[in-house]
Amino acid sequence: MGTRSTIFIAAITLLCLLLFIGCSERKRPTEEAARSVIVFKHGKISGDPSIFRTILDRFESENPEISVREETLPASTDEQHQFYTLNLEGGASDFDVLSMDVIWVPEFARAGWIRDLSHLVSEQERSDFFPGPMEAVTYKGRMYAVPWYIDAGVLYYRKDFLDKYGFSPPRTWNGLVEAAQHITNREKDLYGYIWQGKQYEGLVCNVLEFFWGNGGDVLKEDRVVIDSRENMEAAAFMRNLIESGITPPLVTTAMEEPTRHIFGNGRALFMRNWPYVWNIYNAEGSPLRGRVGIAPLPSFPGKKPISTLGGWQLGVNRFSRNHEAAEKLVRFLSSPDVQKTAALTIGYKPTRRSVYQDAELRAMQPFIVSLHDIFMKARPRPVSPYYMMMTQVMQPEFSAIISGIRSPEAALASTRRQIEHILEADR
């Protein structure tokens, strides 16, 4: 017994030791010791990860003194936010460059976690970037991140059905309703218009597009104007879409992917989604190939259509010990040339307008170029360090409106009171 347990313990100890050695970082080759290593944290890169690596390799060959290590975070945006807040609050310096969702920059800037990068982009150069992302990375007049790639909500429609019944892509919401009613009455198993209505961030993106498309907004300067007449009308319209059957009730639990599947199975006439869906529908073997069209979202009569801005921004960790190298990488990744390469290889939409004039890009990626005007009008969600709190208030109230649990008047009035309470913290 005694010897057996001794052997057992010895074996376990050895195993632990081996694991420990196995986990400890391998020594890099000595020739690299002279180079400074910077760590770039980002979410999942779309497509083949080795393609993005070749872009970083180019940076390394242009800057032989720097080597870049990339580290991928979990796919969910919430988890990435939690990772950054916990680590940066603790002053973590083990990463230098970070990619941020468009709604985080003011929060991180206010918390003092990211470096002021105003000096990286000259005044003149700034006008080359789309206005939406520029607004989103600016806090108190200073630039805290550089827009990396851009995204915005768009309307997908079934070209074949619209052609068959003689409709053109709708410019107003009433036009969409009219087309949807006409066509779904004549086609079997076809939903009119689907969008994302589960209680989550995507719902806020959808609702704000209706608000903005009716001339409304959440904040005006420092005032909370979310319970304006324009917003109430827009919210009531959304609820009405569901009650009138244009939109099936299932949207109140839907996120992007379920709606993509339903539209992709040919079960819907119109869909609001992000541009990533386009390539999936037009891939080899997709049943919808060549039968889908894309257009700016409709608006209410006499108002301009405005999409919710998405996309990611590059920032530099305030606690980075190597911020000069980190800033070089940010400059490199956001340069026109590299943005063009990323657009051609992994489909990341450039944040610089001049790239859209490039002849090669126009020839190879006409779809990306066609989104230029939509990106010009894309608007960021309220640019405030308190946005994460505000969205926690908006999500359930918006969900209540579209599920018919509360009236737009009651829900939006309560939203205004709660947001005002949040903003008091800073006064």
Binding site: D78, H81, Q82, T85, E89, E107, R110, A111, G112, W113, K198, Q199, Y200, P248, P249, L250, T252, T253, P258, H261, I262, R267, P385, M388, M389, Q392, Q395, P396, E397, S399, A400, S403, I405, R406, A425, D426
Partner: protein
């Protein structure tokens, strides 16, 4: 030599350990709960009972409280009734009893997040299997009524096996002679169940209830994955609300106030059961 030296010095290390890992966080949460604290913005000020006063008028808190209470009462009741029925059935000798017992345990063995994802797909109103099998067109997770009950149903599916197994263990220690004697005296099955099985099973039932009530009251993962608290917070439980305040919006002060409320409720439930248990064992 003092042989009856009290053991205090010997338990001091463990007391310190317990204090460090349980009392310190609890006291710190209490401390946070009387502050307006947004650490990332460097905002931290003592606000006395402001958070608690806000909580009393916070409709979202009461909503979460009601949801949690409903979830707890309904799910625990169903789990107990079904678990008892299954336990009584499995206690009978029949062929392949071992295999059936193992199969019954399967739902409990699947990690909650995985089964919640699974149920989310089954509940989908467009391509979910539930509507397909029943021929219905119900927006399960989208309607306030069905969403919360859907979460209850999933929890019952998942946790009934746990209840059944514990109760089965309780059944097995009841002496078989009592049943035989009752039969000889001419008692019917229902009488035997009411007058022998139930009273002798009472201590086990109380233990099961304690476990299940406390777990159900703190429910988080299943509901969070299933609905995220929606639609319109109709499935938001106290733990989900506290999580959102603490970790998504980083309001450590008010988030802690919510956590303290959960703690108080759970404490009261524990005391209540502890009392019943003491009575049950003294009987």
């Amino acid at each position: 030599m003092k042989r009856h030296n009290d053991g205090t010095p010997f338990i001091v290390p463990s007391l310190i350990l317990i204090a460090l890992i349980t009392i310190y966080p609890a006291v710190y949460a209490l401390y946070l709960s009387v502050h307006r604290k947004l650490p990332i913005f460097g905002i931290s000020r003592f606000t006395g009972l402001d958070n608690y006063l806000f909580l009393v008028g916070d409709e979202r808190f009461w909503n979460a409280f009601r949801n949690t209470l409903y979830f707890t009462v309904v799910s625990v009741t169903l789990e107990l009734v079904l678990g008892l029925a299954i336990a009584v059935l499995l206690d009978k000798a029949f062929r392949m009893r071992g295999i059936v017992r193992a199969i019954v345990l399967v739902p409990w063995a699947i990690p909650t997040v995985v089964s919640a994802k699974m149920w989310e797909w089954m509940y989908n109103s467009d391509f979910g299997i539930l509507n397909y099998l029943m021929g219905t067109d119900i927006n399960w997770l989208g309607s306030p009524f069905w969403a919360l009950n859907g979460a209850v149903f999933m929890d019952v599916w998942k946790t009934t096996p746990f209840v059944a197994i514990l109760l089965m263990a309780g059944l097995q220690v009841i002496p078989r002679e009592l049943y035989k004697a009752a039969r000889v005296d001419g008692a019917g099955s229902l009488d035997i169940f009411r007058r022998i099985t139930l009273p002798l099973l009472k201590p086990v039932i109380l233990v099961v209830l304690t476990f299940r009530t406390l777990d159900a009251f703190r429910i988080f993962d299943a509901v969070y994955v299933l609905t995220g608290g929606g639609p319109a917070n109709t499935t938001e439980t106290l733990s989900i609300y506290a999580y959102k305040m603490l970790f998504q919006t980083l309001q450590f002060g008010y988030g802690s106030t919510l956590a303290i409320m959960v703690f108080l409720c759970v404490g009261m439930i524990s005391l209540f059961y502890a009392r019943l248990l003491r009575g049950g064992i003294a009987e």
